[in-house]
Amino acid sequence: MKTEVDNILETYKGAKRDSLIPILQKLQENEGFLSKESVEKVSKYINVPTSKIYGVATFYNQFKFSPPGKYHIQVCRGTACHVLGSATVLSEIENALKIKTEQTTTDGLFSIEVVACIGACGLAPVISVNGEFHAQVTAESIHEILNTYREKEAKDEK
């Protein structure tokens, strides 16, 4: 049976080594992370050993090897955000969700990632939830933001 991974790989016919990163990016976009199975398939497809692929994938911050939460929170830790208190924001999010950075909540709803700089320094501190930006966040406003996603989830379930 053809899986989605196969379908993605087919769009890269004749791909060479320089397509490795775009392929991994596409797979992660689709699955949310890089599973062992898909890495093995990529290995066969472009004829590069899995060890080499993992060598590349683990080098870059973007690639993940376990499934992220439904709402993936990226906390910016750039200079401007740091100066304006992003460390407090991060620890507040960790406390509120009772997980640490790089972890996912047990209900699979939230996960936290620290990123170097989102590039919205003028509105620091900034976080992004599934690509949606929230500017000038504070230890207080974090709870409101998390709640909007929890409410959204509750609504979706109904």
Partner: protein, 643 residues
């Protein structure tokens, strides 16, 4: 309409070399929306605008138009650069000048639009208006060029950002876009373009500061069957975001600049290596490239000149070191982004071992302007060694944040106080960090130096990509040094030992200084020795690292050590952080007279460092206290003191 516009633009603008006639001029004004029949509402929807709530504002505008039955066009534009005023909404009524409003949240939309459509201006939100020869002015509204934030700016790179529709190639062409490119490939030889850019004095804006024209000549003079031109849009410096703003707000400016540059070295393949963290910029770039292809501005035999050029977007995967040229090349080749020793330089042997030039977004965004206006008009700006303008990203503890483009040679004080409006909440200025993790701090006494590549290096900072993070009295400089060190340590690729191990050791020392002392007798000695080691370690890392990342990694520490040695000493000997940032150095005490024995602090203390029985005064065990301050936050009786 779109197709007829295309035919018009190709025939009457791109293929026309004579002055425009009256009809053409009028059509151009319609395309750039200077002349409009129905109202247009612009909303600043760059990443910062969206972060500030532009998405909700846009929905509110749509609802307003629907309920009031108004036929108007809504256009999402990029960022004009004044981040602290986002969301920004502009309104262009027929025959009136375009007028701009700041801090427009979704709840403000109704009031502002009610007023505008009744020909009134909402005084609370007004920002400025844009000059036009043919349109009627608004009364009592300043022109954008008179606004303090914009008054001192010289906009070359940012000229269109936040003003034109970034998804419309038509608007870009109607504003004179791609004229420089077609002029180049029709009338110039590659070498002439290299000479012109060298004469303009343009230097790399990504940090290196090497003469752009000279760099190109290395590749031009190397014989090869294939050459590559890469745009480095992997803007990794925390605190810099001008490249993102240019791509989001005016993507064709980059494409045109890179197309000219590729021609100048004889490259037929152009790569744009862009951070995956910039999804909106990638989207805008993809749209722009597609449009440029439709117009025949990229592809084979461009406008019948025989010039070929293909563009490929490569998304970075999140590695700071990929800003280094050879690491970036490895990343495009699908390998780990690790630098290699040079020579051979990429200009001679780079991507797939072919001659390759890598320039940063801001550098390339200057090129078309230089072709159109001449080298002389560009190098009239600036100082003896640094020509043109530079975009700075103002952020941190400053009143007005955003992107500022000023002529080289402007003083740092002018940028912070005249353009940026001074320090946030009237606090005292401490320093401004320039050049990101490779740069350093600029202190009060150096604020009056004129910015250029050399003067910044002299005072221990650097141009870098132009990030300026302002810090006030509440910022701890040891903590800032630690922040940069942990960033560099995380981002070090691990290839060479001095950088990999050295930065880790430096970070350890800084952590030791900023954590709670263990009270043993030789603690201060250990801490002091740490500082001595910091300096010698820094020297070794600088001298022996392979690439720019390692060679400049100790800069933030050295610079803070130079200017803020007293803060380090305070941390070591007095075990105090005056700014109150280094949490674990704080010592808390409970005021026994104020404590009512409610026990809430004891319950909330994460380390059980507070003891005391109910309704009796509580005490803190210093050895257990980690200085987190939770007790201070939860105490309702103001009984916790910080010593």
């Amino acid at each position: 309409m779109k197709n007829s516009n295309k035919k018009f633009l190709v025939e009457k603008v791109l293929n026309n070399t004579k002055p425009f006639d009256k009809n053409t001029l009028l059509t151009l004004k319609q395309i750039t929306k200077e002349e409009n029949n129905k109202p247009i509402i612009y909303i600043g929807a760059g990443t910062c605008g969206l972060g500030a709530g532009a998405g909700k504002t846009k929905i509110a505008i749509e609802q307003y138009l629907e309920t009031n039955n108004i036929d108007a066009e809504i256009i999402a534009v990029g960022c004009i650069g004044l981040c602290s005023s986002e969301p920004i909404m502009d309104v262009k009524l027929p025959n009136k000048q375009r007028v701009s409003f700041e801090k427009v949240n979704n709840t403000d939309v109704n009031n502002i639009l009610d007023d505008v459509f009744a020909n009134k201006i909402n005084p609370k939100h007004i920002l400025a208006q844009f000059k036009s020869d043919t349109q009627e002015k608004w009364d009592n509204v300043i022109d954008i060029s008179e606004h303090p934030f914009f008054e001192k700016q010289e906009r070359i790179v940012l000229e269109n950002c936040g003003i034109i529709d970034p998804t419309s190639i038509e608007e870009y062409i109607a504003k004179g876009g791609y004229k420089a490119y077609l002029n180049t490939i029709r009338n110039y030889k590659s070498k002439e373009i290299c000479d012109l850019i060298e004469e303009s004095g343009l230097r790399g804006r990504g940090g290196g500061g090497f003469s752009t024209g000279k760099k190109w000549k290395f590749s031009l003079n190397t014989e090869a069957d294939q050459k590559y031109f890469i745009c480095n849009a992997d803007e990794g410096d925390p605190g810099a975001f001008m490249d993102r703003a240019v791509i989001e707000g005016d993507p064709h400016k980059l494409i045109e600049g890179q197309a000219i540059s590729a021609f100048a070295i004889g490259a037929t393949k152009a790569y744009i290596y862009i951070r995956a963290e910039y999804p909106l910029a990638i989207e805008r770039l993809e749209i722009a490239l597609k449009k440029a292809k439709e117009y025949g501005l990229i592809g084979k035999n461009i406008f019948g000149t025989g010039v070929d050029l293909d563009f490929i977007i490569k998304k970075g995967a999140g590695a700071f070191v990929c800003g280094e040229e050879t690491a970036l090349i490895h990343s495009i080749e699908g390998k780990r982004g690790m630098p290699r020793p040079r020579p051979p330089f990429p200009a001679v042997s780079g991507l797939f071992e072919k001659p390759t030039i890598i320039n940063n977004v801001e550098t390339l965004a200057n090129i078309a302007w230089i072709i159109n206006n001449g080298a002389g008009n560009f190098n009239k700006y600036g100082t003896a060694t640094s020509k043109g303008t530079k975009v700075f990203a103002l952020s941190g503890k400053i009143t007005l944040t955003g992107l500022v483009e000023v002529a080289m040679g402007t003083t740092i004080r002018e940028i912070i106080y005249n353009i940026g409006g001074g320090i946030l909440n009237n606090k005292k200025f401490k320093s401004v960090q320039m050049g990101g993790p490779s740069g350093g701090c600029v202190v009060e006494q150096n604020l009056d130096i004129q910015i250029d590549y050399e003067s910044l290096v002299e005072i221990g900072a650097m141009m870098g990509s132009g990030g300026m993070v302002v810090m006030d009295e509440e910022t701890c400089m040891v903590d800032v040094a630690k922040f940069f060190m942990s960033f560099i340590q995380r981002e070090s690729c691990g290839k060479c030992i001095p950088c990999r191990e050295g930065t880790g050791r430096m970070l350890e020392i800084l952590e030791l200084i900023t954590t709670k002392p263990d009270n043993s007798s030789n603690d201060a000695l250990v801490r002091f020795r740490g500082i001595m080691e910091l300096e010698s370690l820094a020297d070794v890392i600088k001298d022996t690292s392979l690439c720019g990342l390692g060679q400049s990694a100790p800069n933030p520490v050295l610079s803070t050590l130079k200017w803020f040695k007293h803060e380090y000493e305070e941390h070591i000997f007095d075990r105090k952080c005056d700014a109150g940032v280094c949490q674990s150095l704080r010592i808390f005490k409970i005021d026994v007279d104020k404590c009512t024995g409610c026990t809430i602090c004891a319950k909330k203390c994460p380390t059980d460092a507070i003891i005391g029985s109910r309704k009796a005064a509580h005490y803190i065990i210093d050895d257990k206290c980690i200085g987190c301050g939770t007790c201070d936050e939860v105490c309702k009786f103001d009984a916790i003191e910080i010593l």
